[in-house]
Symmetry: C2
Subunit: 354 residues, 2 copies
């Protein structure tokens, strides 16, 4: 339960279409950096389906990249120069920090707390804004905590970004695991802020600068998948919804079978963020013994933030990320059984408050 | 004859394999950043075929990227920090300059001259090396000039790089258009310098750092093409050789039918670099009229170097890049016929020395 790697392959209709477009000689040439217009149109339509009919999204707002990581990389290089700052909550998605550091953009840390279910605070964020701040970067549903930010919280961050004329970058890689209403209302015609990541969705003027950045990095994204997906998106809604329902069910199961001394602070999308019950023991040590002695692989919170100075830290981090969506129901039960075993097997004292 | 876009689709065996691997659900997961081991092995073997049996190339020397541009981007970010310098000859491949500027690496210009057939001079290069220099970047066969650097020249640059303990980066995107012997001998066991670009070929210790850089940019390159190509490389040698022979024939034809007042300084790979015959007229103006009035599209030398200060420049650049490999024999003849027409149609005076 460590990496976030989908275990479900794409539907047969997608695989068949990939087979056709990959062997079509006309897909061997370049495509404009922003991608095939047919797919950009289809994505704009799907986003209206997802965010509501008042979502004001056009094909000109969309740029396609070879993976979400390259989307964030190209957005970062478009928004900021070396020496500028971007605010990112911790626990962070480590690739965001790696990208900013590669580009000599300073990641400014916005701490989040378990008692807030790891929701970031717009008020605390405002205090971190300086003349060098170019963007606030959010991930929802979050990696690693699984926290799903409510539309009202996202609106508050959009207001903050507008007030200081900085960008709000939202990484929505796990968006389709949200089974309730629209993830937020930033795309409605009345809301002038609209930046979305995965593919990149932003204003045409931003996309034009992004194109320049992409031209320096990847030139165009692979073309056959673009041609394959363009006509299929609406037909995939059922598959997406069924997958999301299955993952939601697994989160419920995980909550039910998790031993009662292991505490979930936040849960959603692909992940759950869980406090282990061992007093004074770091999550890294717990994860190492879980892997070596009980065959359970999960990631400690230390992986998702800056290196701590062990000597000044009062109490070790006790948070662990479980990639709940990665495994089937039987594995969820087995993992929880092993966690219960660890409480006696490890011989460490248990937090009486847990 | 402007862009360098291959007009020949891949052979049917490649398209068929792409069709198979693209629809295989097992190719939907991540692959290690450096790429499928099967393809890296096959590439190491092909490089031995190309560079000679004494070429000391292992799969561990190879990293695969989504396109050559991303290869150069990841190499640049691995070798240098913001504020460092890399030496690049002009005329340059503009994407190299764009990448360096994006990463705040200073491109230090090494001029090349038509009277040297646009070959860069190791002696001039040495004078540009400073404590901040991290690499010398060469392109051979060159874009835009078409110049094919002889193995002895490449060896001299390798010696220079070794002397100053800096990297020699060679972009060999157009390598397979060389129909004579090995492009150079840097990979022979006795030569300790071995960096190659396209994919990236370098020492395992360099590849390990490159992996870290790739992890911040693209994570892994698309997997189906890797699986498709792995078993096919040796079977493609004939196709590659036939394509190279056809391009070489087209270069010969271009040289034969080009009007005698248009002067070729260098020619090879995809391109020929040609001086137009109009006195005191910039290549930009000539290219614009060729496109608008005669339907011939080619690129002026100004595109391949830093912006000039027009007021201080003595004589305008008269060099034009023709993408000779882009068109068929009939088009080559037609283009040359139009160039001949332009000499009278444009009403500009002709250089008596041309």
């Amino acid at each position: 339960m460590s990496q976030g790697v989908p275990g479900v392959p794409p539907p047969k209709s997608v695989l068949d279409a990939l087979s056709r477009t990959s062997s079509d000689p006309t897909t061997c040439g370049y495509v404009p950096n922003a991608g095939e217009l047919s797919l950009r149109k289809a994505i704009a339509d799907e986003m209206k389906f997802r965010y509501g009919d008042d979502a004001d999204i056009m094909p000109e707002d969309i740029a396609l990249t070879a993976g979400c990581n390259l989307a964030f990389f190209s957005v970062a290089t478009t928004l900021a120069d070396a020496g500028d700052e971007m605010i990112i909550p911790i626990p962070w998605y480590f690739n965001h920090e790696m990208t900013l550091t590669t580009l000599n953009i300073k990641p400014v840390i916005l701490p989040t707390r378990p008692e807030d279910a790891f929701m970031p605070s717009p008020e605390r964020c405002e205090r971190l804004i300086t003349p060098k701040t170019k963007a606030i970067v959010l991930v929802t549903p979050n990696n690693p905590t699984g926290a799903v930010y409510p539309p009202s919280l996202i609106s508050a961050f959009a207001d903050l970004a507008r007030k200081y004329k900085i960008a709000l970058v939202i990484d929505e890689t796990y968006r389709d695991f949200i089974t309730s209403g629209p993830p937020h209302h930033l795309f409605s015609s009345s809301a002038p802020v609209r930046h979305r990541l995965g593919l990149v969705c932003a204003s045409p003027s931003f996309i034009s600068h992004l194109n320049t950045a992409l031209d320096s990095i990847q030139i165009c994204a692979p073309r056959p998948p673009q041609r394959a997906l363009a006509p299929l998106l609406p037909s995939l809604r059922t598959f997406i919804r069924e997958t999301a329902d299955a993952v939601a069910h697994r989160h419920t199961l995980f909550r039910e079978v998790l031993p009662k001394r292991w505490c979930i602070a936040s849960q959603g999308g692909y992940y759950a963020f869980v406090r282990h019950p061992f007093v004074g023991i770091s999550a890294s040590k717990v994860c190492q013994r879980l892997a070596e002695e009980l065959g359970v692989v999960c990631l400690p919170a230390e992986f998702f933030g800056p290196k701590h100075n062990e000597s000044v830290q009062q109490e070790p981090e006790r948070w662990v990320r479980f990639s709940v969506a990665n495994v089937n129901d039987e594995k969820v039960k087995l993992v929880c059984k092993r966690l219960a075993e660890s409480e006696t097997a490890f011989g460490w004292s248990i937090d009486p408050k847990a």
